[in-house]
Symmetry: C2
Subunit: 458 residues, 2 copies
């Protein structure tokens, strides 16, 4: 590393260079994402119908396929300034370790207490709830990043926050729960006995440890039944991708500052919030024919929505109270193996990303978790950041691409999203160290069984 480094290790934007508008990639899509459908009538959900569940202004954002730029309110920009801009890091040490001619950059979203990019949308959703004069919001959380982010956002705007946390996570991750308590949120293990759907699921499956789809149903029920409450969601929705575009806009601004043109952009994909946000402005250029990039979604081999799912309308939740979304899905009953370590466990995928993928504008790969943790540890040792298991999917793919460059001698520029830190995931690292991690992959038969239960929509 003796050569002079013209690009700093970390590129930080100045405060006045931070985005003042979010970018709505739907405005540049020729094929728009399919609309959400009413689960009863199978007709597109109207703003009025959506307004019973979601905040008004968020409904507008959800349905807006036309406006490319939407102002970020000043209150949200002020909050962003507490933990943003996030650094775009040149992975000099990783490049050296791999002995690759590739140039690797990562956008690091983990330097905040929620430990991930989730805060970018949580603060926006809390702001609009507050603006509407609501008392509070409800949500679900699995691993706990989203719940933590939302509790931080609600605390800031003095809103009540009710989190339904998948029971197995509630019990196995008491520290995440405790962080939410610091921020004054109420955290209930799901399925609970507080909701109709929770009682039903507990009766049908005694001793169940819950699932994300079930926790969503509970949170929606509580929001609908309690005046002054709305439901908020941390991924999948169009509005979430809109808010997360701040990641991509900052990344692009940082790259532009140094005249860097990426060849490959990589992000992990569960519901699509991080990937959708990271790639938005780059995809916009691609859609407008101004530039071309390889864009790669990385998903767990144990929950392979893009690579092995169907592109179809499906339920977003187990209780089937949410609107139907057209997306790459494994079926709303699908739950990844209990041995699956990271997040990225959602059965479906953002409708925006699903459409882009279906249109051939991006690629997808799936990776097995042992190789993911190998990449995580290699990265931690040279770059000094302990990555979240989710983020490590992107690290794995970035390393694989960099190693291809080593073989071919190509000096490609790779940018990936490092969504968060793994401080609350040490049980998974322990499993990895102790050789207790396996690489269960669902069989074709198993996936076909769930796919057969997809709702039939014309």
């Amino acid at each position: 590393m003796a050569e002079e480094k013209k690009i700093p290790y970390k590129i930080y934007l100045e405060e006045n260079e931070m985005p003042k508008q979010w970018y709505n990639v739907r405005a540049d899509m020729k094929n728009k994402p399919a609309p959400l459908l009413n689960p009863g009538t199978h007709q597109p959900m109207t703003a009025e119908e959506l307004g019973g569940v979601f905040c008004e202004e968020l409904v507008q954002q959800e349905l807006d396929n036309d406006n490319a730029y939407i102002d970020i309110p000043e209150e949200i920009r002020d909050f962003y300034k507490m933990y943003r801009p996030s650094p775009l890091v040149r992975a000099y040490c990783l490049e050296e370790k791999l002995q690759t001619p590739a140039k690797i950059y990562y956008k690091f979203e983990g330097n905040n207490t929620s430990g991930s990019h989730k805060l970018n949308s949580a603060i926006a959703q809390a702001y609009y709830a507050k603006k509407q004069g609501l008392k509070g919001v409800t949500t679900e959380t699995g691993a706990g990043q989203w719940g933590t982010a939302l509790s931080m956002a609600c605390s800031y705007f003095d809103l009540d926050c009710k989190v339904y946390m998948v029971k197995v996570s509630y019990e196995q991750k008491p520290f995440r729960r405790e962080v939410m308590r610091v921020y004054g949120a109420s955290v209930t293990p799901s399925p609970s006995m507080e909701t109709e759907i929770g009682k039903k699921i507990n009766a049908e499956h005694p001793g169940t440890t819950g699932s994300l789809g079930c926790a969503i149903s509970e949170a929606v029920e509580v929001a609908v039944k309690n005046p002054g409450y709305r439901y908020v969601l941390g991924s999948v929705l169009n509005q979430v991708l809109l808010h997360q575009s701040v990641i991509g806009l900052e990344t692009k601004a940082a790259l532009d500052k140094y005249n860097i043109k990426p060849d490959i952009i990589i992000g992990c994909a569960g519901g699509g919030s991080n990937l959708g946000g990271l790639i938005s402005p780059f995809m916009g250029e691609k859609l407008r024919g101004e530039a071309d990039y390889r864009i790669i979604a990385v998903e767990p081999a144990s929950c392979p929505s893009f690579t092995r799912g169907r592109y179809a309308y499906d339920f977003a939740d187990t209780g089937m109270v949410c609107p139907l979304a057209k997306m790459y899905t494994l079926g709303s009953d699908f739950i990844p193996s209990a041995n699956h370590a990271g997040g990225l466990r959602y059965h479906g995928m953002s409708p925006v990303l699903s459409q882009l993928y279906d249109d051939g504008l991006m690629e997808a790969v799936s990776v097995e978790q042992t190789r993911v943790f190998e990449a995580a540890e290699q990265f931690a040792r040279v770059e000094g950041i302990l990555p979240a298991p989710e983020s490590s999917h992107a690290i794995r793919a970035a390393i694989d691409e960099a190693l291809k460059c080593k073989e071919t001698g190509e000096e490609k520029t790779i940018v990936f999203g490092l969504t968060g830190t793994g401080y609350f995931d040490m049980v998974a690292y322990e499993k990895y160290h102790d050789g207790k991690m396996d690489d269960y992959i669902p069989s074709d038969e198993e996936l076909a069984k769930y796919a057969a239960k997809l709702p039939k929509i014309d």
Copy 2:
């Protein structure tokens, strides 16, 4: 917060503005810190004697009371670039919450995987060990921040790292241990049966859960007995304060950029590594008569070295294998109450800071842990960072000073050190939330008992 903010929320230095030299405050001290003494002869330790325990170049730094600036080797500066510069944050939201006319800034050292400022010295010590051609280093760790930092540094330079972790922490903090494993360190609960001193302590105190002083003794024994190994320490020593001066130098550079003159500088104090580093360049100005500042050390009421200890020669460790240091001390047998939550548990204090305190150049206050956690939670909710219990001592004192300004109407500028994050301290937060935290303060009789056992040195 409608007024225009000329000072950004976070001040980041550019890479080329980062310090290229550490600052050695001893050079400007009229009364130098007292020398370390040989525990057998009570004569000042020579470089040769120290070289049996510590790396050669670190011994030079330990004994150097003359050179004000010492070059930071390029390899260390490259590593610093991975996680530094750390931000100097303007606490706009905290000021607003407190409704204080005071202007509050904090230097945040928690944005790295060790979770604290400890990495600043760990990487330096690992570098000099590598340069000397050593195989590895040994150390002790209590709460685990230092052990984590050292394991990261050793991994980077491919050095073996043996950590003796206080048994109670080893058992209660399995996740910290697991992070060290990610970086390839071997972690042994102390007292172990691997060392003579460990066997002795286990025999004398069956079932003991260990102490920092005991873990130090074990780590030193292993370093001395194994060719190619040396012992390294994360606090107290002059060399550590030298490395940590990077905190203060960056802080001062960031303040100077915006022509900000602090009135009060606050840091938490256990062994003094953070406080000594933060205040160094400011204390230098004070010693040279160029500026004046109020400098406040904040310590736990349960381990009050400055406020209730004696300024005397004492052992650094339980096994009495380390050199004697003249410092504010509670006695080397003193162990804080088991209910004490944070770090800052060391019985002694940096000899440099002890001398400065004795000369009336700084103040000290002690705070009870319930009030510390109140401040921690208040801070987390408005500033978005979940602070470590150690760091929260400084937050408490900063809030108290800001509230005094509110009463008097003074627009003082307060700078404090936010040393780290509390992600691995959620058990303590849980105790606080559940009302299970008490504020044990040692009695005068108890302290007198330990003080009576201080070694008699002329």
